[in-house]
């Protein structure tokens, strides 16, 4: 699938610009980057280059001819930004074709053949029509249709039309509850990173709610008995010390066994490797349910660099020895290009990542020397009641992400399952000098540092 994600601020600017000349056609360029998934491409558009009246040699209700100089200026801008280009123009009349017309296709073909070899990124063309957006991108072999166009800000908006659902009796109450969000949800591919106590109930909810596809990613095997108390789909019979099963297989078998029409993909790999990371680029949303800082740091990059929303879930148990419970904290953070990332929120730590990556002997030695706090890899205290609470909050955050109402929900909050307190988390806005502000939407031009497979097996 080829997806195009556009920053919502850019969408607002573009729409306002296109509507300003209606009923005449109007257009603009955006810079375009990409992230290559395993199966598809995630195109990333931002920074509109709006036209002025001198930009057009011809402009009318059904014609739009850019001047060579303006096209060339857009190319210059893309070269400076080390990006590709996306030409967006309107078909303001609802009787006009909702996609590229024959004339559009020919102009796109001619421009792409000449401009694409000059650019350091993809070349695409999008039509904005009253019924939705649609477009094409140039590949080596010719033009390819863009399957889905979304706007990403605090929420996700579908700009291209969603194919109609074939609702069954299974869906009536959910449709009544969610309305149009039901349709959006059912068209999604959702990745779940971490298939343990948090990820497994998230995956089951996603399958029960009927998303189109679930991608399960986890390299771990079920080798710790205490996991069985929290991991959905696992049983004590799955504990086989000699031949431990992967968590991905246990969970996938379980959710497939529910009998819903949802595709389940299994990736028993470390998300810090490039191969596993690129699988995420074929999804619409990522649910992050791992407590490893290194993994979370890599997935964290998706939100800003790849304009791919991430819902991060976590738990904290406020128990100290035998003095009793002080809290059962479930936390959810919605990471998008306009919300604070995990670095902004200080929920991941570079020193912890360093320690996670130390060879075990060196870590033991440094721990003895007092340079490293013990317990980085130790299992985090947890309880099923809390992981289920956090997973439910995370999937509700996903629903908010798909709705306009999501704009007024906090992008980060926690709920104390013990005392019943809820709290918005600090900060509300990204930290200006944070890493996440540096390469918004630059995709593979700013891909995260990956861990080599060889380093993991070694």
């Amino acid at each position: 699938m080829i997806r195009l994600a556009i920053l919502d601020k850019a969408v607002e600017q573009v729409v306002q610009h296109l509507e300003s000349r209606s009923p005449a056609e109007e257009g603009c360029f955006c810079l375009l980057w990409q992230g290559k998934g395993r199966q598809g491409i995630r195109l990333l558009a931002s920074r509109p280059f709006l036209s002025d009246p001198r930009s057009w040699e011809r402009q009318g209700t059904d014609v739009l001819r850019p001047s060579a100089q303006w096209v060339s200026a857009a190319v210059s801008r893309a070269i400076e930004a080390d990006s590709g280009l996306l030409f967006i123009h309107s078909h303001p009349n609802s009787l006009h074709p909702p996609g590229l017309s024959g004339a559009d296709l020919f102009a796109f073909d001619a421009l792409a053949r000449t401009l694409a070899p000059m650019l350091n990124g993809p070349f695409g063309s999008v039509v904005v029509h009253p019924t939705g957006w649609s477009g094409m991108v140039w590949a080596d072999t010719g033009p390819l249709s863009i399957d889905r166009i979304i706007s990403v800000g605090k929420t996700m908006r579908f700009l291209s039309s969603i194919p109609p659902n074939n609702d069954t009796d299974l869906d009536c109450r959910q449709r009544d509850a969610l309305g149009v969000v039901h349709d959006r949800l059912q068209s999604l591919t959702v990745a779940v990173v971490g298939c343990g106590g948090l990820g497994s109930p998230i995956a089951e909810q996603l399958v029960r709610m009927g998303v189109a596809e679930v991608l399960l990613i986890d390299r771990d095997t079920l080798d710790t008995p205490s996991n069985v108390r929290r991991m959905f789909g696992s049983t004590v019979h799955d504990l086989r010390p000699d031949h431990p099963k992967t968590k991905v297989d246990i969970l996938a078998d379980h959710v497939e066994g529910l009998g819903f029409d949802v595709a389940v993909r299994r990736v028993a790999a470390d998300v810090r490797t490039e191969a596993a990371f690129r699988r995420l680029l074929d999804s619409d949303v990522v649910m992050l349910a791992t407590d490893n800082h290194g993994s979370r740091a890599v997935v964290n990059e998706l939100a800003a660099v790849y304009l791919l929303p991430v819902v991060d879930a976590g738990v904290r148990v406020g128990a100290k020895s035998d003095t009793g419970l002080s809290g059962l904290i479930a936390e959810v953070r919605v990471l998008t290009p306009v919300t604070p990332c995990l670095w902004c929120r200080r929920t991941i730590n570079a020193d912890t990542i360093r320690v996670e990556n130390l060879p075990s002997e060196e870590r033991e030695r440094l721990t003895k020397e007092g340079y490293v706090v013990d317990g980085v890899d130790d299992p985090v205290p947890s309880v099923a009641a809390l992981t289920v609470l956090a997973s439910g909050m995370a999937t509700c955050a996903l629903l908010a992400l798909l709705s306009k109402e999501g704009r007024v929900t906090p992008s980060g909050y926690w709920f104390d399952g013990f005392l019943g307190d809820a709290l918005r988390t600090w900060p509300e806005e990204p930290v200006p000098n944070c890493r996440c502000r540096q390469n918004i939407g630059h995709g593979d031009n700013a891909s995260p540092p990956f861990v080599a497979e060889a380093a993991l097996s070694g």
């Binding site: 056609e25 257009g27 011809r58 009318g60 059904d62 014609v63 739009l64 001819r65 850019p66 060579a68 100089q69 303006w70 096209v71 060339s72 200026a73 857009a74 190319v75 210059s76 801008r77 070269i79 400076e80 030409f87 123009h89 078909h91 009349n93 006009h96 074709p97 017309s101 024959g102 004339a103 559009d104 296709l105 020919f106 102009a107 796109f108 001619a110 421009l111 053949r113 000449t114 401009l115 070899p117 000059m118 063309s125």
Partner: protein, 214 residues
């Protein structure tokens, strides 16, 4: 005055070796592999030139220096929602004609008329003074329900002895260029099924073949 020298410039970020430091826009385009005149050529102040550069006309004389940067933008860049159903079918037929002939073909539009431009098409050997010409077919937004008639070539297409081919004395202007109209007409009925564009091309070729046999 032309100075003999070897100089390299960049056209669309590719290095192009030139043997002249003074040449026309058309010559520079040709040296960079862009045939014909359906291109816009711009001189840049570096690849990141925010102005987009300065236009050079095809017959302008350009003096180049080593390392100069130029950019070529295709002339076929007319977007628009007009005549969608016509265009979709015409696009398909043009693709088939392109595949059958290997020619570079463009669809152009002007004031509701649609022009199918075949670039640098070969002409029958010995029939005309030139061996190749752009060819123009004209249709409208109701193609293929609306039939094509006649065809147009560049004005240089005349007989080897300098005479004008029969029925080809009219010079007309379309899409910003002059064309010689061959007022030659089909004998068969236009069939809107299949690919009538291929049929029209075949008609032109068969008429030329008949001229050669005369």
């Amino acid at each position: 005055m032309t100075t003999k020298a070897t100089v390299h410039v960049f056209v669309n970020r590719r290095k192009v070796e030139l043997e002249q430091t003074q040449l026309t826009g058309e010559q520079l385009l040709a040296a960079a592999g862009f045939q014909g005149r359906e291109w816009d050529l711009l001189r840049l102040q570096g690849e990141g030139d925010p102005t987009g550069g300065t236009l050079i006309m095809w017959n302008d004389t350009v003096t180049v220096k080593p390392g100069d940067h130029f950019r070529v933008i295709p002339g076929n860049r007319t977007f628009g929602a007009c005549a969608p159903t016509v265009h979709r079918e015409l696009a398909q037929h043009v693709n088939e004609l392109r595949a059958a002939t290997g020619l570079e073909i463009e669809i152009l539009e002007d004031q509701g008329r649609i022009f199918v431009l075949l670039r640098d098409a070969p002409l029958p050997a010995g029939l005309f003074r030139v061996t190749r010409s752009d060819i123009l077919f004209i249709t409208d937004q109701q193609y293929p329900l609306s039939a094509m008639d006649m065809f147009w070539t560049s004005p240089e297409v005349i007989r080897p002895d300098g005479s004008v081919p029969q029925g080809a004395d009219a010079i007309e202007t379309y899409v910003g260029r002059q064309w010689r109209r061959f007022s030659w007409h089909r004998n068969s009925i236009w069939n809107p099924a299949g690919n009538p564009l291929l049929d029209h091309f075949a008609f032109m070729e068969s008429r030329w073949a008949a001229e050669v046999r005369k």
